[in-house]
């Protein structure tokens, strides 16, 4: 691998890890779509800040972006608090408004500046190695790596310092407020972090794919664990692995790196959706099937136990009676009888199903519940 390739990979991994941390809390707070809004509207902050400082590499741009990110959240809340539109509609109104202002400003006033709406939407991580951080002529690597590295450090430090506050304000904001932790402060703090992360990341992967990296890995991690610290860790791992996988997919297909990264995030999520050990669709379907058979077997045992020793017993315990009585298709009924026999719960003699001692006990247990 060339050093440029290693640079791209490093930037990709750091971007993915930095996005996964605030993304985890967005997913748990059911605010996934807010990341979509913020990752677009920060562009307005960048454009406005650029008009002030006239320098595309100034850190003021990040400050402007963070402020407009917060403005987005405030405006969405103001619009939805009128009670006349729902929150998702408010997001759909506010974010195009701010984003379109940015697009107009770029196209009309900054036409000769390198602020191109294609790059903003899609990013170009492949250019990351060419923009070097070289103070006093010493090459210290790509600027993007330094910027995103700093954002990752801030996100890690924030999540670990304020872990308890983030968790409490997300799980039970009322208790957080009653105990004196301002849930509003936590909320806007998180939104500021989302904004800054989005700015840093969209340089590399573009504003649309920021959403994939913020939401996809945490959504997958949520299905894999029921502990918050593990969910955070898994989100970072899934995000970083998708970034690496996406890079190689892009080389294989000779396609956009950012697009391939998001694709791999999507594939990772679909795999988890189907294969997660407890909550995956496959595991759920198998559990349902097993429960269906267990339940059918219990029905059979309880039916036999109910009629045991009664005058109608002979009639009630004929195998073909089960088909009519339980409305089971013949094949299903045969299989229930078969598995119950196999487990030593019933015996078939003279065309009569009889409970064994174990079967009688199992029926008693089932009826108790």
């Amino acid at each position: 691998m060339t050093s440029a390739q290693i640079d791209v990979l490093l930037v990709a991994v750091v971007v993915a890890a930095a996005c996964a941390i605030p993304g985890t809390f967005l997913v748990l707070r059911r605010m996934a779509m807010m990341s979509d809004a913020i990752s677009h509207t920060v562009l307005l902050g960048i454009v406005l800040a650029f008009f002030v400082v006239a320098d595309l590499n100034s850190p003021v741009l990040i400050l402007g972006a963070a402020l407009v990110g917060l403005l987005t959240v405030v405006l969405v809340e103001m619009v939805s608090r009128t009670g006349l539109v729902r929150e998702d509609t408010a997001i759909g109104l506010v974010f195009p408004a701010l984003f379109s202002i940015a697009v107009i400003l770029i196209s009309s006033l900054a036409g000769n500046v390198h602020l191109d709406s294609d790059v903003v939407l899609l990013g170009e991580i492949a250019f990351a190695p060419f923009n070097r951080f070289a103070p006093f002529g010493v090459d210290l690597g790509p600027i993007a790596l330094w910027v995103m590295g700093a954002i990752l450090v801030v996100n890690l430090a924030g999540a670990s310092l304020f872990f308890k506050e983030l968790k409490l304000a997300t799980f039970d904001p009322a208790l957080a407020a009653a105990l004196g932790f301002s849930p509003a402060l936590v909320h806007y703090g998180l939104m500021a972090v989302v904004s800054v992360t989005a700015v840093g990341a969209f340089d590399a992967v573009g504003s649309i794919l920021v959403v994939a990296l913020m939401i996809g890995p945490p959504a997958a991690a949520y299905l894999l664990t029921d502990r918050l610290p593990r969910m955070l860790g898994l989100s970072v791992v899934i995000g970083a692995a998708s970034a690496v996988g996406g890079y190689w997919l892009a080389r294989l297909l000779d396609a956009s790196i950012a697009g391939s990264m998001a694709t791999v995030v999507g594939i990772a999520f679909i795999l988890v959706l189907f294969l997660a050990p407890q909550r995956g669709l496959v595991a759920t379907a198998r559990r349902r099937r097993r429960q269906r058979w267990t339940f059918a077997r219990q029905m059979l045992l309880i039916h036999l136990a109910t009629h045991e020793g009664t005058p109608t017993e002979a009639d009630e315990s004929r195998p073909d009676h089960m088909q009519r009585h339980m409305r089971w298709p013949p094949e299903f009924a045969n299989r229930v009888v078969h598995t119950a026999t196999e487990r030593g719960l019933i015996d078939l003699e003279n065309d009569q199903l009889r409970l064994t001692a174990a079967g009688r006990e199992a029926a008693r247990q089932a009826a108790l519940r």
Partner: protein, 259 residues
């Protein structure tokens, strides 16, 4: 910060008025809760019971009126008050365990940034034991039954080691075991000199479980010891015609009216 209890009323709210967009939810409500009593807040849906609790906790700002906790403002005395919200107010699919939820009760005494350590966890474990949930400490909270979830919430309030416990419908939708456990817990709190204010829905158990009752329907209809104010007349005033079988019998007790 030193917390004072003194001789003042545990909770004293005066002239609380609160409106959602000009629609009054609480209208000039007074509330006096002496120390060491179990008080039920009773009233029909939309009577402002939850709103009253949330106002006492400083979660909602009243348009008028003030709340004193042992003679001082809630902000000064926050450490004396524990809150048990309605079970439905949180997302039980949240990735966390019963023990972790109970540990959240210790966050108030920890303050910002500081993390819960071994002593917080052992306090939380003790609180779980107190509500008979020690065997479920490591369960993810969505795997608990409704009653078990309610007991986790109670344990979380216990771990706050407060003087006043504000509970929003602690008996809502719980099984018989949990109901028993909660009643025992309320009595233990009273014996320890603690004060409990609980929103309560089941009129049949008010007299059995509580010492005092406040009848609320936007305005305060009546308040005081259960045997004095929990009368048919006051219930009729509180619920209007909405209590089934109301009226007709001259000497009907509140329980008869519900039959």
């Amino acid at each position: 910060m030193r917390l004072r209890t003194g001789n003042a009323l545990a909770v004293q709210a005066t002239d609380l008025t609160l409106a959602y967009q000009q629609r009054p939810v609480l209208w000039d409500v007074d509330l006096e809760v002496p120390r060491g009593v179990l008080m039920a807040i009773v009233g029909p849906n939309g009577a402002g019971k939850t709103t009253l609790l949330r106002t006492l906790l400083g979660l909602l700002r009243p348009a008028a009126g003030e709340v004193l906790v042992f003679g001082r403002s809630y902000l000064e005395q926050r450490g004396l008050v524990a809150y048990v919200p309605q079970r439905g107010s949180v997302d039980w699919d949240f990735p966390t365990t019963a023990l972790d939820v109970v540990t959240m009760g210790t966050y108030g005494s920890l303050g910002w940034v500081k993390r819960p350590g071994a002593s917080e966890r052992s306090r939380a474990t003790a609180a779980l034991e107190q509500v008979g949930m020690q065997d479920y400490a490591d369960r993810q909270i969505s795997q608990l039954s409704g009653g078990q979830q309610q007991r986790v919430f109670l344990a979380r309030a216990l771990v706050q080691d407060a003087e006043i416990y504000l509970m929003d419908e602690p008996f809502q939708g719980v099984d018989a075991t949990t109901e028993r456990a909660i009643v025992d817990l309320l009595r233990a709190l009273r014996t320890a000199g603690k004060t409990v204010v609980a929103v309560h829905h089941d009129l049949q158990t008010v007299a059995e479980y509580f010492d005092q009752v406040t009848l609320l329907n936007v305005r305060r209809i009546a308040a005081g010891p259960v045997d004095e104010v929990f009368t048919e007349e006051n219930l009729r005033l509180t619920y209007g015609g909405r209590v089934a079988g109301i009226g007709g019998r001259a000497n009907a007790t509140p329980l008869d009216m519900l039959a």
